[in-house]
Each structure stands twice: as structure tokens, then as C-alpha cells.
């Protein structure tokens, strides 16, 4: 039954049974079939991701709302949680430990609250990033979408969370005598840079976490170390006066400290540029672009492997 056709026959009249002898790959090539679940090119990947922007937004907003949907006070917790957080830190570091060396109370309280909120933004993006793939395997194994949607969606959720915190922050700043001024506009570019940085980091952590879920257990310790090293509740140059200078420089140029300082500078009247390391905007931008791009490419490289159990 398998009739052999002579080579060079006109393509139109070739009997289909000629397919019989073909290997799977050749047959696939002949009919334009592609490997299922193959990784798209970087440019195509960006396009796919852009096509899914509504899903990314909807998913992040859904996660945010779902968070407090069982609570009686509901969405009020979006604001109440950061407020309580700020109070706790004020109680411990402002009143009990007194880490405000070199700062007046009017500067220190907004300084502390900014630090806590801005660092929490990075911290929660990273923590959510670690579990972005490993915690959503069900979703990854059920539906098709560029997997980067998940970590990006999680850091968007944190950004929206931060915007709620910003309301609290504005109230605190005004309460301690820093009134809205043009310099407050500088918060926008600083937050954009931090968001890109966070997303890059979340993408990196998502890939690492998909392979090694144990990272989720380890991250709280790493993040806490990072928090204490970034001067969330104290001024780095003042605290490290007696130590070799390079230590303070390293700490000051770490991205978390940079973004915190930029926002403090924008927000607080008594926190002038003398507190910032030189070239702080450029360093912030470099961190943001570098980690953002590197994280994206690193994540994309393993696109076809997410979902393996």
C-alpha cells in the first residue's frame, strides 16, 4: 500500500503517503509544525508579554484585593498595615533605642518611616518573586502565558501596596513639618527606578526559586541582613564615622540605600543633599537598568523549563 513516489514529482500531485517515510522532525517541518512549549526569541517574548499586559494588571490587582477580602475592615488594611508598621518602628528605634544620632525628631521620624516603607517595597517584591513560579505551579501547568507575567505581576502588586503606604508617608511628613513642595515630584522617578530594580530582582529570584524552593525559607534572613545594612533606621555616615570609610561607601551605594535616600531627600525638608553620596541619581539609574535588564534576560533563558515538577 505504501507506494513509493519518484523524486522530483510535481509538489501538487505528490501522494500524501509519501509522509510515511519521513521522520517526526521532517514531517513537522513539512507541515510547519513547531515544537510545543519552545522558548520564543527575546523580542518576540517582549511582544507576548506586552500582549498580556491586561492580564498582568488584573492579576496583580486581584491579588491585592484578595489579600484583605476576609477582614472586617476590608481594604482599610491597605493603609492601616503600613501605619501600624511605622508605629512599631517608631516605638523601638525612635523611643527605646534612640538611633536618631545626628538628626532632629522632625527629620528622624519621616526618615525612619520612609526607610521602612521603601525597603519593604523591595523586600516584599523579592519575597513574592521567590514564590512567583514555585507557588503558582498550578497556574503554570494549566495555562499558556509568558511566565515573566507572574513575577512582574507580583512586583506590580507591591507597587500598588506602596502607593497606599505613600499616603501614610505624606501624612507623617506633613505632621513633622515637611510640607508638599516641588521636590516631592522627585519621588516619581525614584520610585520608577526602584520598581524596575525590584522587578529585575524578582525575576532573578523567581528563576532561582523555581529550581530551589528552599530559597523561600532562606530569604527572610538575607532580607533582614540587607535591611539592617542599608540604614533603614539610622544614618549610615553618622553611625559608621569611626569605621574605615569604604564600609560606609559600600553600604551607601547599595541599591536599597540609594532609593531610600533619594526618596528621603525628595520628601523631607531637613534632609539635604549633604546626606547623599555623590552621583546618587546616576548610581540609582545604573542599578535599575542593569538589574532590570539582567533579570529579564536571565528569567527568559529558562522560559521553557518552568513548570517542571
Amino acid at each position: 500500500m505504501s507506494d513509493t513516489t519518484h523524486d522530483g514529482a510535481v509538489a501538487l500531485s505528490t501522494p500524501p503517503s509519501a509522509d510515511d517515510g519521513l521522520s517526526a522532525a521532517a514531517l513537522a517541518g513539512k507541515y510547519g509544525l513547531t515544537v510545543s512549549g519552545a522558548r520564543p526569541g527575546l523580542f518576540e517574548y517582549v511582544q507576548q508579554l506586552w500582549g498580556r499586559r491586561h492580564f498582568i494588571m488584573a492579576f496583580s490587582r486581584a491579588k491585592l484585593t484578595a489579600q484583605y477580602s476576609q477582614a472586617k475592615l476590608g481594604q482599610l488594611w491597605q493603609v492601616a498595615t503600613p501605619l501600624l508598621n511605622a508605629l512599631v518602628y517608631y516605638l523601638i528605634f525612635g523611643l527605646i533605642l534612640g538611633t536618631r544620632k545626628g538628626m532632629t525628631q522632625e527629620v528622624f521620624i519621616p526618615f525612619l518611616v520612609t526607610g521602612v516603607f521603601v525597603f519593604t517595597f523591595t523586600q516584599s517584591s523579592v519575597t513574592a518573586g521567590v514564590r512567583a513560579i514555585s507557588g503558582n505551579l498550578g497556574l503554570v501547568r494549566a495555562l499558556h502565558f509568558p511566565r515573566a507575567s507572574l513575577p512582574i505581576s507580583f512586583s506590580l502588586q507591591q507597587l500598588q501596596q506602596l502607593l497606599f503606604s505613600m499616603i501614610v508617608l505624606a501624612v507623617v511628613a506633613i505632621g513633622f513639618g515637611s510640607y508638599p513642595s516641588l521636590s516631592w515630584l522627585l519621588i516619581v522617578p525614584a520610585l520608577v527606578m526602584q520598581f524596575v530594580f525590584n522587578t529585575g530582582l524578582a525575576l532573578i529570584m523567581a528563576r532561582l526559586g523555581s529550581k530551589t524552593p528552599d530559597l523561600a525559607q532562606l530569604m527572610p534572613f538575607i532580607m533582614r541582613t540587607w535591611m539592617y545594612a542599608s540604614g533603614v533606621m539610622f544614618s549610615i555616615p553618622v553611625m559608621l564615622k569611626d569605621k574605615p570609610e569604604w564600609i560606609a561607601s559600600v553600604l551607601q551605594y547599595n541599591p536599597a540605600a540609594i532609593y531610600m535616600d533619594l526618596i528621603r531627600f525628595a520628601l523631607i525638608d531637613g534632609y539635604g543633599s549633604e546626606n547623599l553620596p555623590p552621583h546618587v541619581w546616576i548610581v540609582g539609574l545604573v542599578w535599575s537598568v542593569f538589574i532590570g535588564l539582567a533579570g529579564f534576560v536571565y528569567f527568559w533563558k529558562a522560559e521553557e523549563r518552568y513548570g517542571r515538577g
Binding site: 503517503s17 510547519g32 509544525l33 513547531t34 515544537v35 510545543s36 491586561h54 513548570g307
Partner: protein
């Protein structure tokens, strides 16, 4: 016979010696205690990681599916049917071998994208977006989805969080969302018969519609009746291996003989 079957047919899915291996953490070495985990790490380095157990779920399955075919997958529990479907959909990476497909096959189901804390309304939108529909498409089909699910037959339930639904209601909404989209290569994984009798009839009808629109259909089911009703070709998987591949009647007869029905 086989050749006749293929003549003039355009292949849509080609599976070429597909192997799928699951790796399970923390399943090795008997006791799940901390010391056991520690000793696993210490003794590591001798080749394969000790703590990880491999489950070879699909072993070297090859077949070619053609446009217009409806293919049933049968086999006992744990024989690798659902795993194979996910590999065809490109959702589970293969360990070895390749799956070639025409376009993007999709698995019927959005359960994982839905959130029980959100209202049914928002879940319809979220589920639709997750399946790759545009906002306009969802807006157009929204009413259809809600009507099909029959959620609002007993009052305004669509604006309540999904966690307040009965299990039947939730299953109906999930199916309605999933079935709202048309697919090129459609894959359906069991458990279609959810909800009450009325809804079952409605969903079977919708499946038939989807089948007509789709190029190729894969159906995993334990109900020989629904396989007989919908499929013209059946793959029989056992322990991850392709035991038989042929016309529905032939394979089902052999399967029924084997399983002692």
C-alpha cells in the same frame, strides 16, 4: 488501514519519543525527619541527588494526530494520561523527545487562575485574561458566560466572592469560563460531568460545539461511553507507555477485556 487513515490528512500534533520525568523533593529515604534530610545532603555528590525521587510518568510515547480527529486517551489511574496532555500543550517540559504542534494547543480549564476571594464577576474577567482573551472579547462574552453557568438563576450570586459558592456552582462557573474560548487543538481532561443533570447536558452540548470548531481534540476520560460518543481514535496508555493506538472500537474492546469489565 493505517495508511488509508493518513492519506490526505494534515498532521497537527506529532509526539516523537516523549519522555516525562517528575522530580519529587523530600520523598526519598523513608523518614521525612530533619536528620534524614541532613544525611541526604551530606551523602550527596555521589552522582544523582539523593533526596530527589524521579517519577518516570511517560516513557517514549510517539504518535501523530491529524486535523479533524478526536482522540481519546484511556488507561488506569496514574498511567500518564494527564501528564501527556500537558506535555502536548507545552506546559510540562519533556525530559527527552519532542512534541510538534500546529499553533498553540490549549488545555480546557482555568481553575488555577481563579481566586476564591474574588467575586464571580472579577473571576470571569481574570480567567478570560489568563486564557489570553482580550478585554473586548471578554466584555462581549461576559453575559454569555454568566448565563451559561446559570449562577444567577437563584439570585445575584455573580457579585459574591467565589468562596461562598457551593462546589457545584463553582465548578459550573469554572467550566463556563473555560469553554468560552475557541481553540485550534483542544484538550479536555476528565471531570466534565460536573454540576446537576441540567448543566451536564448543557456542557456536553458545548463540548460538541467546541469539538466542531477545533482542529483536533484530545479527551481524557474514564467513561468509555463519552469516549465512544466523541472519539474516532483511541490511545491506550499504561504505566506511561503507549499500549495500543487505533480505532475506538478496537482499542476499547481490548481495554475492557484487560480491565475485566
Amino acid at each position: 488501514m493505517a495508511e488509508d487513515n493518513t492519506s490526505g490528512r494534515i498532521p497537527t500534533v506529532i509526539a516523537d519519543d516523549v519522555h516525562i520525568v517528575y522530580r519529587v523533593n523530600g520523598a526519598g529515604g523513608g523518614k521525612g525527619s530533619a536528620t534524614a534530610a541532613l544525611s541526604r545532603i551530606v551523602r550527596r555528590g555521589k552522582g544523582e541527588a539523593r533526596g530527589v525521587r524521579k517519577v518516570h510518568a511517560v516513557r517514549g510515547v510517539s504518535f501523530t494526530a491529524y486535523r479533524g480527529e478526536a482522540i481519546g486517551l484511556i488507561g488506569t489511574n496514574g498511567s500518564g494520561k494527564s501528564t501527556l496532555l500537558r506535555a502536548i500543550a507545552g506546559l510540562l517540559p519533556t525530559e527527552h523527545g519532542k512534541v510538534y504542534t500546529d499553533g498553540q494547543p490549549s488545555l480546557l480549564g482555568v481553575n488555577a487562575a481563579l481566586m476564591s476571594d474574588l467575586t464571580g464577576e472579577r473571576n470571569v474577567v481574570l480567567g478570560g485574561l489568563a486564557m489570553g482573551m482580550t478585554r473586548e472579547e471578554i466584555r462581549e462574552r461576559y453575559q454569555g458566560i454568566v448565563d451559561f453557568s446559570g449562577i444567577n438563576e437563584k439570585g445575584d450570586f455573580i457579585t459574591l466572592p467565589m468562596r461562598t459558592y457551593s462546589s457545584g456552582m463553582a465548578a459550573r462557573l469554572r467550566f463556563s469560563i473555560a469553554a468560552a474560548k475557541n481553540h485550534d487543538v483542544l484538550m479536555i481532561d476528565e471531570a466534565l460531568a460536573t454540576g446537576d443533570r441540567k448543566f451536564q447536558i448543557r456542557s456536553e452540548k458545548r463540548i460538541r460545539e467546541l469539538r466542531k470548531e477545533a482542529g483536533t481534540v484530545f479527551l481524557v476520560s474514564h467513561s468509555n461511553k463519552s469516549i465512544r460518543d466523541t472519539c474516532d481514535r483511541v490511545l491506550w496508555l499504561e504505566k506511561g507507555e503507549l499500549l495500543m493506538d487505533g480505532p475506538t472500537d478496537e482499542v476499547l474492546k481490548a481495554y475492557e477485556r484487560e480491565t475485566g469489565k
